[in-house]
């Protein structure tokens, strides 16, 4: 083999360093967050009315300086930066322990779908207020009898008498922030004859429309994390159909991929929690080695799981940048982050021992309860394993 064949253009060789421009971007993000992030724990829970509005105000602050949706085009309120810069932003955001994003459902679940399937009118109408926090979205995905089995949706839409829109009827559940959101996106059956995946349509519904009612669902810790939504002949104009009548399944699957995949779960969330776990371990080790040592392996594993997730995200991002796509790997991703989140918090609680059941000041317990939902929502991990086995390994359907 000739040596010349091995000469590589430098810009093509593997390189895990950030460019100077990326490092400058990071510095800018960090400085802004340092100046603006409210002290940890000062915002009330975003699952209360006052907390919801306090978090909306934070979204306004972010948006005012164009930090709410950095990867969006400038026209819609973003900065048009790339995926690597978005990951950098997220790393800094979590490192700064900035508030949870009340606008997350819209930004991370609906927006990617709207960029793909939305008309220009829809994008102009919906994206700017989503970016600014003026309009907060909740999802209308699951139904009481269609949880993991999304194709079993029964909520239906029939043509409105004026033939300028649809009348929606049915029940949706597990809508995070459903009690306070302005808008809802979700699937309704527009063709009752079609089977399962077919005949569904993706609607954008104003929550204040006549016929919409909401029942908050208290979570196991007593907080109101999500809500049931009831629709009774709710009128939705044709302009609020996303991606075409009867196309709902394909449109929704794009969003589902995004929920499971890259965009919802930035690795920074886990790497930051893992770093705090190492701190907790070190403090426990200093206090009482016999208490800490049995968890050395679990602490190291949790840290590694978070770090492996970070590396895998950069690996995937590089593939996407090179024109690749994310398919069933999103299912592998979802299994990994949900198990990582649980492992981090379970290990922290083990280090805390009996103190772990205290609620006063115990952020690890709140994090654990949150992590418990991970293997369940956005498609249970059982469903994800089916996807991995069938689509990545070619095993036959059951």
């Amino acid at each position: 083999m000739e040596e010349e064949e091995w000469e590589q253009p430098l810009d093509e060789a593997m390189d895990l360093k950030f460019t100077d421009a990326q490092q400058a971007f990071r510095a800018e993000v960090r400085a802004w967050l340092h100046a603006h992030v409210p002290p940890v724990g000062t915002l009330p829970s975003l699952d209360t009315q006052t907390g919801f509005e306090a978090h909306r105000a934070w979204e306004h602050t972010l948006a005012a300086d164009r930090w709410s949706v950095v990867s969006w085009p400038e026209a819609y309120g973003g900065r048009g930066v790339g995926i690597i810069e978005w990951l950098i932003f997220e790393e800094e955001y979590w490192r700064a322990q900035a508030p949870l994003r009340v606008s997350q459902n819209g930004i991370f679940l609906l927006a990617p779908t709207m960029f793909t399937f939305g008309t220009d009118e829809q994008k102009n109408r919906f994206l700017p207020p989503m970016a600014s926090g003026d309009e907060i979205w909740c999802q209308g995905w699951s139904e009481p009898d269609a949880g993991s089995d999304l194709a079993g949706i029964r909520s239906r839409a029939v043509r409105a008498p004026g033939d300028d829109g649809w009348l929606l009827t049915g029940q949706k559940t597990w809508a995070s922030r459903g009690a306070y959101a302005e808008w809802c996106f979700g699937l309704f059956r527009t063709d009752p004859e079609a089977e399962r995946h077919r005949g569904l349509t993706y609607f954008l519904v104003q929550m204040r429309s006549p016929g919409v009612s909401v029942r908050p669902i208290p979570q196991l810790d007593g907080e109101t994390g999500f809500a049931e939504l009831f629709f009774e002949d709710v009128f939705v104009p044709d302009a609020q159909v996303l991606g075409g009548v009867g196309q709902g399944w394909n449109v929704a699957m794009a969003t589902a991929g995004s929920e499971r995949g890259l965009s919802l779960r930035s690795p920074a969330r886990y790497t930051e929690a893992a770093a705090l776990l190492v701190d907790l371990y070190a403090a426990t080790l200093a206090r009482d080695p016999t208490l800490a040592l049995p968890y050395a392996d679990a602490v190291a594993q949790a840290w590694m799981d978070a770090e492996a997730y970070r590396l895998n995200t950069y690996w995937t991002a590089s593939r996407v940048l090179a024109g690749g796509s994310v398919g069933a790997e999103a299912s592998a991703n979802k299994i990994h982050w949900s198990e990582t989140d649980l492992a981090i918090h379970r290990t922290a609680l083990a280090l805390l021992g009996s103190s772990g059941e205290r609620r006063d000041g115990n952020r690890w317990l709140d994090g654990y309860l949150f992590a418990l939902a991970g293997p369940i929502y956005a498609g249970t991990n059982e469903i994800q394993r089916n996807v991995v086995a069938e689509r990545l390994l070619g095993l036959p359907r059951g």
Binding site: G147, I217, Q219, L220, L349, G353, S354, R358, A373, I376
Partner: protein, 389 residues
């Protein structure tokens, strides 16, 4: 070799189960969540049945029974998530008081048997949480007999109990009538004290399961509150650790069984993809795995109970101590696994307040860590195995 319960023991267990099925429903538990310290008719009913005084000697109105009888009862308490401190009162306090009978302890035992007294018992190893202002630094943690901290000025908004000594994370502390509290004086000399409610100051601690009635207890030792000192207290506390590990293990068996029941029942009823989710192999295998762990935890707990009754001589409980560690580790892992699996099988429903499962999840997580985690007990067991060689 006869490793089984008597018909009488089973019959007593069954009558208790009937009582609790009626008087300790999930609705009752939700009421207890609102007012954890409230007295209910349930405690009196349990006393009438003889349950509360099971371990109180006959002479003081109890049944004079041992751990072998008690584990079946505690298993039932676990199954229904009993909010009252039966374990603290009957499995821990009564035997401690009965070790050295004085007029005072005799009177307390009689009160226990009559159902007029609930007890809280402090774990002398419990520490303030690491995020507390006064959490100990590297050098302030003592040896085995450490645990309570001198009370200094504290800035925490929740306030602070009064008294020169403080016991942390005391289960059953809210609303108890009697407090059994250990302390260690300089030089490592341990003491065990019993104080009535009016002599202690209790600061409630917010817990995920409010019916644990957790509190920080401030108190002052007096000569009249002394129950045991020196070597006697040392043995009493060692015994307490063993009994408490076993008692929590027994409750965890009942909890695991209840959670597997709830999840199996849900899996039979809930349909997805056109059939009951319990017909999917993934769901089956989750529940089967938990069930296998539970099946093997049960004899481990029962054998430990028998050993504890067999080795009555204080200070020579090597065998029963090891078995109690095996029991606690196995039951805690079985119940933790049952909790994980039951939540996963329920899906989002299991994550709601409305679903009964949450009541048992929270109790399980608390008891798995109380009186030594599975890992703690594995460590103890291994140390004992290596020393024996």
């Amino acid at each position: 070799m006869r490793f089984s319960f008597t018909e009488q023991q089973i019959a007593f267990r069954d009558s208790l189960r009937q009582l609790l099925d009626k008087q300790c429903t999930p609705t009752d538990l939700r009421a207890a969540y609102e007012r954890p310290e409230a007295r209910t008719t349930r405690w009196a009913a349990l006393a009438d049945l003889g349950v509360v005084g099971m371990t109180v000697p006959d002479a003081h109105g109890g049944l004079g029974l041992g751990m072998t009888d008690l584990v079946l009862v505690l298993e039932e308490a676990g199954r229904v998530g009993l909010p009252e401190p039966l374990m603290e009162t009957t499995a821990l306090a009564a035997p401690l008081l009965a070790r050295a009978l004085t007029p005072r302890s005799s009177a307390l035992l009689t009160e226990i048997a009559s159902g007029s007294l609930t007890a809280a018992v402090a774990d002398h190893r419990a520490m303030p949480p690491p995020w507390a202002d006064d959490a100990p630094g590297p050098s302030s943690r003592g040896g085995k007999a450490g645990g309570n901290q001198p009370v200094g000025p504290r800035g925490d908004p929740g306030g602070s109990p009064t008294g020169s000594l403080r016991c942390e994370l005391v289960a059953g502390a809210q609303g108890a009538d009697l407090y059994l509290l250990p302390t260690t004086f300089s030089g490592g000399r341990p003491e065990l004290h019993a104080l009535r409610a009016e002599a202690v100051s209790v600061l409630p601690v917010a817990a995920l399961d409010p019916t644990r009635r957790l509190g920080t207890v401030g108190w002052d030792p007096t000569p009249s509150s002394l129950v045991a000192a020196g070597e006697e207290a040392h043995l009493a506390l060692a015994d307490l650790e063993v009994s408490a590990a076993l008692a929590t293990a027994a409750e965890l068996l009942g909890l695991a069984d209840r959670m597997i029941d709830l999840a199996s029942s849900y899996a039979r009823d809930r349909h997805q993809f056109g059939k009951p989710i319990g017909s999917f192999q993934a769901v089956k295998h989750l529940l089967a795995g938990a069930q296998v762990k539970l099946e093997f935890a049960r004899p481990a707990v029962y054998a430990a109970a028998w050993s504890l009754d067999e080795e009555r001589d204080p200070g020579s409980r090597e065998h029963s101590s090891r078995r109690a560690s095996l029991a606690k580790a196995y039951a805690a892992d079985a119940a933790t696994e049952a909790a994980r699996v039951a939540l996963q099988v329920h899906g989002a429903i299991g994550y709601t307040w409305e679903c009964d499962l949450q009541l048992f999840l929270k109790r399980t997580w608390a008891l798995a860590e109380a009186w030594g985690s599975a890992t703690d007990h594995r460590r103890r067991l291994l140390t004992s195995l290596i020393e024996e060689r």
